[in-house]
């Protein structure tokens, strides 16, 4: 095969290394872009070479790259459909015993931040396992309530992500494989459990979810025959959502789809309160988007090969990633703390370290990975201009391997979102995936204090790459 393009015109240049010649080239009028470079992986050249197939690793890396294509294909072919809403314990068997699920990689109560502990205490009150805050905290501190990651039970939870047995959860089913993913109902803004609150209004709302709203939504979903989520998300992207910080259009589209069924199965005060809540909760769709992301990520994880990130999540202490070819292990590093814009009276000093399973959205090319889709939230990102958003969007493509043709960004002339994060390219470029996120107060019960961005720590990807390097050696 011959190269037909090298001498077909005047070449442009990307320069990596010394600048003597690039300076001369620029002076001569050539188009030259600099690629600043420093040794990745702490200077472990041997590993770096192995990851990209030099030395004897050539054949393993060739297989790896074929594996990556298979993983991406599986993720893109997943077809999440919201089919029902049921009590958590009825679909997650472990919750038939007294236990709680939390966001992020596994950690026990002793290590949890104040925000997550506050929510856990609230969950005990909701379940009736404790009669007041004090008793709840004693019970939790005693270690008699087991915890596990939502991800280990097919679930995803935003922010602290606490799920308890009686909470109603969405059931999102992959029509291709039959696998399901679960998430709670989004509580809205203000005093909400996901930001660590546990006061009476939080408990009351959760009780209303369990006794009225959840069953009503479930009946409506069943009547509808299921709502395919990917096409809805495609439409929402065209309408200015990125599905992490902004789900306004997606939530409205969801309402639109569900409304005929809701009014058919509901009536009276129950229906009125349900519709009112749906229409005022702009982030309602977030939890469903997260389920769609988990379905897609798990489809990739099940292929069992390659170097593609299939999940990213945080618990306020650790940031964890999963990688398609490295089994179910979490590769962790300390979380970063988000920065951004704060509500009146709050500042960065009040911010909780990074929380939530919602980074599953960035895992599947949404949220911080699709900034130009949502000009309205660009104000939270750096300089806040669209131009800056596009720069970041293109910077982040340094580590993606493919695209999702079903999800396009109209402001970029229909460009598809870049898809499939390759851990090797994250460490090679040193660019950390960017996550759009809400910012919680570091103290329980204080709620949300702002919104902004945070990055996934390089350490997770480096740790995973070291393991990958060992596998490639064989």
């Amino acid at each position: 095969m011959t190269n037909k393009t090298l001498i077909s015109g005047v070449p442009s240049v990307v320069n990596a290394g010394i600048d003597i010649f690039s300076i001369l080239m620029k002076e001569a009028g050539a188009r030259v872009i600099d690629l600043p470079w420093k040794p990745p992986l702490g200077g472990d050249l041997d590993l770096y070479r192995r990851l990209f197939g030099l030395g004897s690793a050539g054949p393993s890396v060739a297989r790896l790259e074929i594996g990556n294509a298979r993983v991406v294909k599986a993720m893109l072919e997943a077809d999440p459909v919201a089919i029902d809403l049921v009590p958590a314990a009825s679909v997650m068997p472990a919750l038939q015993n007294r236990m709680l699920l939390h966001a992020g990689p596994p950690l026990d109560y002793a290590r949890m931040t104040d925000t997550m502990r506050g929510a856990a205490a609230g969950a005990l009150l909701f379940e009736g396992w404790a009669k007041d805050r004090e008793e709840a905290e004693l019970l939790l501190a005693s270690g008699s309530i087991p915890f596990d990651s939502c991800h280990h039970h097919g679930a995803v939870g935003p922010m602290v992500g606490i799920i308890s047995p009686s909470m109603p959860v969405f059931v999102v089913k992959d029509s291709k494989s039959g696998r399901c993913a679960y998430s709670t109902i989004n509580e809205g803004i203000g005093a909400v459990m996901r930001f660590g609150a546990s006061g009476p209004e939080v408990i009351e709302r959760l009780q209303w979810f369990a006794s009225s709203f959840g069953p009503l939504l479930g009946a409506a979903l069943r009547r509808s025959g299921g709502l395919p989520l990917k096409p809805l998300m495609a439409k929402a992207l065209l309408m200015g959502d990125e599905m992490h910080q902004r789900n306004t259009a997606a939530s409205l589209l969801f309402c639109k789809e569900l409304m005929p069924h809701l009014v058919a199965v509901g009536s009276g005060d129950d229906l009125e309160r349900a519709v009112g809540f749906l229409l005022e909760t702009e982030q309602f769709f977030l939890n469903l988007a997260m389920c769609a992301g988990k379905i897609m990520g798990d489809s990739g994880q099940l292929v069992g090969e390659g170097s593609i990130v299939t999940a990213m999540c945080r618990n306020g202490v650790d940031f964890g990633i999963r990688v398609s070819g490295l089994g179910d292990r979490w590769w962790t590093a300390p979380v970063n703390t988000p920065t951004g814009l704060y509500f009146a009276g709050f500042s960065g000093e009040d911010a909780s370290p990074d929380l939530g399973d919602s980074a599953i959205l960035e895992t599947v090319a949404l949220g911080g990975m699709a900034l130009p889709a949502a000009p309205a939230v660009l104000g939270f990102v750096g300089a806040g201009t669209f131009k800056r958003g596009v720069e970041l969007f293109e910077r982040l493509q340094g580590f993606t391997v493919s695209i999702n043709p079903a999800w396009t960004i109209p402001a970029l002339d229909g460009r598809a979102v870049p898809f499939g994060i390759d851990i090797r390219q994250v460490v090679a470029t040193g660019i950390e995936p960017l996550i759009n996120t809400g910012i919680a107060h570091k103290q329980a019960g204080r709620g949300q204090i702002g919104a902004g961005t945070v990055t996934a720590p390089l350490g997770c990807f480096e740790a995973a790459c070291r393991e990958l390097g060992v596998k490639l050696e064989g």
Binding site: S12, A16, I33, A234, I431
Partner: protein
């Protein structure tokens, strides 16, 4: 319905595309041969009715729903179908990511990755890599993966890496120039050390940077222009690499309308590689001049002609034989000391002087002719390349010129982009200082050849003038300088 049209119907479940995109898809498919009617719509009941009424849709099981995309095409003959299927797939998967980002391409000055660079720049685009060797190899591979051609200036890259890179490049239809590639000129853009030569129709495929510089400059001075200089790195014609880049480059030049003649230069290749290459070059359909430095010359045949020295090749291409400067005054010394910054000139000198190229120590102090390549690793550890900073060689030149055993000093003076401001000045200063230090004893002959053009910033005529003013003999080619030195010693 009774239509005799053939119907292609493809349902994409749960795949939403907006109406503008779907209309564009219809237009694209409608252009294909044999296509009579196209409709691409989401499967709402109203749309399905419309499609059925037009004879474009037949009910399927499982039933089509509003979240499903229906692509329906009526076409005339079976042979039209494959192209329709391919075009549909390509359109839906394209996502328009191949076009450069119009918001950034004009303004981006730095990027964080090769992929981002590929977004900012349309083709042709080249990765210019001068990082430390073993890392450079990884970056070259990643650049190839990101759809770049590669100019691999870095040296210290082992042969195994070179083979992997070039095989990967060949499979992707890309070119790796290097490793250790010092010179290229593509589409008028100079890469690395390069002289400002006029545009023309001679294309060079060069395993040697300074060799390419000498030839291109000499041709320019004779009024002959260059289309492209494609570097291949010094080991491309080894048995292990097998000439991958050389072949690709030769094909490019053979297919290039602007190139009428091709010149291939290298150190002697692996014999099997040389044989295959020769057969290959003979079929290109354009005249090819081949310089395998120091190798026994094969007979010219068909479109191929062979040369052993730079001088011979240049004489053939320009139709002018370079004058051999006559040494009129030289010292009692018996030895030729040839000190070069260009490795190929050293190689040629070793061949013509019948000495081994020195690999260690200070050979200019030994009794006998010597050839030194100051670009060799042992002189460049922790120092800039001698073309960038000629101070080390200047010191040695002085040492050689005050040495009573030196009969003739031979040097190269390489001008052009990347070279220092006054390469001739180094020789001139060393000569003037040595004359003072020798206090009137006879003085060795100093013979140089200058690689450069009038357009180079250093100015060919100015540099030659300053050398001659200092009593230095200036030959037109590297070969003529050596022949002059040999003649000078013989007549002692």
């Amino acid at each position: 319905m009774g239509d005799s049209n053939l119907l292609y119907q493809n349902i994409h479940t749960n795949s939403y595309f907006d109406s503008v995109t779907l209309m564009r898809l219809s237009v694209e498919l409608g252009k294909l041969p044999g296509v009579q009617k196209v409709s691409a719509m989401m499967g709402t009941p109203a749309n399905l009715t419309m499609l059925s009424d037009q004879g474009l849709y037949r009910q399927t099981l499982p039933e089509v729903g509003p979240a499903d995309l229906c692509v329906c095409v009526a076409y005339s003959a079976e042979e039209n179908l494959p192209e329709v299927v391919l075009a549909e797939k390509a359109f839906l998967e394209a996502g328009s990511t191949s076009a450069p980002s119009t918001t950034r391409s004009a303004t981006a000055t730095a990027v964080g990755s090769w992929k981002e660079g590929a977004l900012a720049l349309s083709e042709p685009r080249v990765a210019f890599i001068s990082l430390p060797g073993p890392s450079a190899a990884v970056e070259a591979k990643r650049a190839l993966d990101a759809d770049f051609d590669v100019f691999l200036f870095s040296d210290n890259i082992d042969q195994d890496d070179e083979v992997i890179l070039k095989q990967r490049a060949r499979d992707a239809g890309r070119l790796v120039m290097g490793p250790d590639c010092g010179t290229a000129m593509i589409g008028g853009i100079r890469f690395g050390f390069a002289n400002r030569v006029r545009a023309g129709s001679v294309g060079l495929v060069a395993a040697s940077g300074t060799g390419a510089q000498e030839i291109a400059s000499a041709l320019d001075r004779a009024g002959i222009g260059i289309s492209h200089i494609i570097g291949t790195g010094g080991h491309d014609l080894s048995g292990a690499v097998g000439g991958i880049t050389t072949r690709q480059a030769a094909i490019l030049l053979a297919e290039d309308q602007g190139t009428k003649r091709i010149v291939v230069i290298s150190k002697p290749p692996d014999p099997d590689v040389a044989k295959d290459l020769t057969v290959f070059l003979a079929k290109l359909g354009k005249p090819v001049s081949i310089l395998f430095l120091g190798m026994e010359v094969a007979k010219a045949s068909g479109s191929l002609s062979f040369y052993r020295t730079f001088g011979d090749l240049i004489a053939h291409e320009t139709g002018q034989v370079a004058e051999i400067p006559q040494v009129k005054h030289h010292s009692q010394g018996r030895f030729i000391r040839a000190l070069y910054v260009g490795g190929s000139f050293a190689y040629q000198a070793a061949d013509l002087l019948k000495v081994k190229m020195s690999v260690e120590g200070k050979p200019w102090t030994a009794m006998g002719h010597c050839v030194v390549d100051f670009g060799d690793d042992r002189f460049t550890q922790g120092r800039p390349h001698p073309m960038i900073d000629g101070s080390l060689r200047q010191q040695v030149i002085h040492e050689v010129l005050v040495d009573l055993t030196t009969g003739v000093l031979v040097c190269d003076v390489v001008l052009g982009d990347g070279s220092e401001d006054d390469p001739a000045g180094r020789i001139v200063q060393a000569v003037q200082q040595a004359r003072k230090d020798r206090q009137g004893t006879d003085f060795p002959a100093v013979i140089v050849h200058v690689v450069g053009t009038a357009q180079d910033l250093q100015g060919y005529a100015r540099q030659v003038g300053s050398l001659r003013d200092a009593g230095v003999l200036v030959a037109d080619t590297s070969t003529a300088a050596l022949e002059s030195a040999l003649a000078g010693i013989d007549h002692a």
